[in-house]
Amino acid sequence: MSEFSPTKADSKAFRALRLEPGLIWLMPGLVIIALLFVVPIVLIVWASVTDPVPGLGHYAQTFGDPLYRKVLINTIVSAIGATIGCLAIGYPTAYAIYRASGRLRMVMLGIVLFSYAVGTVPRTFSWIVVLGDHGIINSLGHFLSSDFQPVPFLYNQFGVLVGMIHVLLPFMTLLLLGSMARVNPNLEAAARTLGASRTKAFLTIFLPLTRPGVLAGAMLIFVYSLGFYIVPAVLGGAANTTIVMEIRDLALRLGRWGLASALSALIMAVSIIGAAAYVRVTGLSNVYARE
């Protein structure tokens, strides 16, 4: 017994144990990701080069055919527009909530959370009531002047952007607010006493400190926007077909699974490039960084 070194054996046993629980707890997540994420992606990529005949024909068609090129461009333009719109509206909104105090802050935050809780579908359809030819705004114009011609707000790029920004805005606002809440409110005050105007203090202190939140928000909104289906389907016109709408059409209406798969693989690649660019610029840890 005494010849045997218990500490050595213990440490060996512990080392083995320490490794295993980690793996065990990871298993459910790994299985789900493998079954529901990795396998389908592989199947899609596989289908895109084999269905109905092997080869890269679908990809050639995707880039060669003006229709698909336009759909791809539509999708990316909408996503960029929605991202910029969300930043332009969301940042001032979040800043106002950050600066407000007490009751006002609670009310403002409550409105954002409430709109976040209402689903995409009712919020999208509600725009028809507001912006449609017989909607509130056009009715008001008609009421004011009988010669009034309804403004075509909907079934075009404008309608799509309004809907997408509306749906994504609460998400963006909360993300930005999270990064703003980590900024010590004394920093701007300190900058003021040191000679910075309100604007200078904002630009040199607050904005740089919320940059990780801006980048994280923009990346998430952009990637999320690429997959939008309901909003462009309801508020967009025939010219605003997005890639997801096209995929659905190809797969379910025309039964062209191979081409649909190729488009899916492409949009996934764009998403992954977006995410990778973000990580490259900020580093993953910055999403959670406390500074």
Partner: protein, 388 residues
């Protein structure tokens, strides 16, 4: 820093230089009020701070001391009243135009900038050329003892070093007024003691006017030319540290600054040079100079409180001295404190407790439960109103 005289510098080290009316700004605060939703945070606060003076605002939390400081800085707007800095009415001036340095309790260092960038920030805001900024930053870092840390981020240096960076950033642009909001409260005790001396010598070297907010009476007493004691948003008293301690104006100040034995009494007779106070220890004759009552309040039957500091109670006095009243006391507790020992006492036959400060007897006879002769120095007693 370029006009430092090389020869004079080394000679003046041990020569105390008190800069009176030096480069500091004069500050005049006139009838300041500040109301938040339901509370009056500042209640008719008026104060003149002399050029180059070191003034502390001392008060418990919620006494309004920080609010007054933030109003002087321009970070808070007063409900009414004026702030005049260096002869100009700054009441409506934004903080960036007031030319004041401020150190925050949490230092408020910019986390995305290096130490050197933090210190250079006020100079960049003043559009100084880069070469000049670098030179000034370098020299101020040497002044506060953080040379070599310029390229670090605030998160990479210790709390004491962060404190010095905050101080350096607040003085690098030679402001005429320096506002310090509890700057030492986040430091541990030893470092705090050291920084106390450094702040004081910095004040002497710069000649800047300093307004210092603290809840720590020892900081206020040690550093200030004058201390403003605040309570519920108003000024209780403004005086030199020594007078606040030796001759407290009110019962509140006596209890708030240092420790005090508070003995209830009643004026029996008011003479021309002394008044006679009847208290539990008999009739005490106290010089008028130690009576902190308005002259019109000094009349027979007036209820008062006698303030006697613990060190004016002598444990086992060596010999009979005039003006000392001897009492037989039971020692109820002995608290050894290093440089002194605190004795909790119960005078025999009297319903009162007293605290004394003295030295622990080497024979171990002065333990809890023992009896000791205690001398009360009635000539050191101060008389204040029985009400706050």
């Amino acid at each position: 820093m370029s006009d430092v005289h090389d020869i004079g510098d080394s000679l003046s080290i041990d020569r105390p230089q008190i800069v009176e009316g030096g480069i500091g700004a004069r500050v005049r605060i006139q009838s300041l009020f500040k109301d938040f939703a339901e509370v009056r945070a500042v209640d008719n606060f008026s104060l003149d701070v002399n050029a180059g003076e070191f003034v502390s605002f001392l008060g418990a939390s919620g006494s309004g001391k920080s609010t007054v400081l933030r109003i002087v800085a321009g970070l808070e707007e007063p409900t009414s009243g004026n702030v005049i800095i260096g002869g100009t009415d700054a009441t409506k001036l934004p903080p960036e135009l007031r030319d004041i340095g401020m150190v925050f309790q949490d230092y408020a260092l910019f986390p995305h900038m290096t130490v050197a960038q933090n210190i250079g920030f006020p100079l960049r805001m003043r559009l100084l050329p880069g070469r000049e900024i670098a030179a000034k930053v370098e020299s101020v870092m040497r002044l506060v003892g953080i040379e070599g840390l310029g390229t670090r981020k605030p998160s990479q240096i210790s709390g004491g070093q962060q404190q010095r960076v905050a101080l350096a950033r607040a003085i690098v642009f030679d402001p005429k007024l320096l506002l310090l909001d509890e700057p030492l409260s986040a430091l541990d005790k030893n470092l705090r003691e050291q920084m106390k001396s450094e702040v004081k010598s910095l004040h002497r070297r710069l000649g800047v006017t300093i307004v210092y907010v603290t809840h720590d009476q020892s900081e206020a007493l040690a550093l200030s030319d004058r201390v403003v004691v605040m309570r519920h948003g108003h000024i209780v008293d403004v005086d030199s540290p020594e007078r606040l301690y030796r001759l407290p104006a009110t019962r509140y100040i006596a209890g708030f600054i240092g420790e005090a034995n508070l003995i209830d009494g009643r004026i029996e007779r008011a003479g021309p040079d002394t008044i006679t106070v009847d208290c539990i220890f008999g009739k005490w004759e106290i010089p008028r100079s130690q009576v902190r009552l308005n002259p019109d309040q000094i009349s027979a039957q007036k209820m008062v409180v006698i303030v006697l500091r613990p060190e004016e109670l002598l444990i086992e006095p060596a010999s009979q001295q005039p003006n000392i009243q001897l009492l037989e006391c039971t020692i109820s507790e002995v608290l050894y404190n290093g440089s002194f020992t605190q004795f909790d006492l119960r005078p025999k036959g009297l319903d009162i407790r007293l605290h004394a400060r003295g030295q622990l007897g080497h024979d171990g006879r002065l333990g809890a439960g023992a009896t000791a002769r205690v001398g009360l120095r009635a000539d050191r007693a101060v008389v204040v109103d029985s009400e706050d």
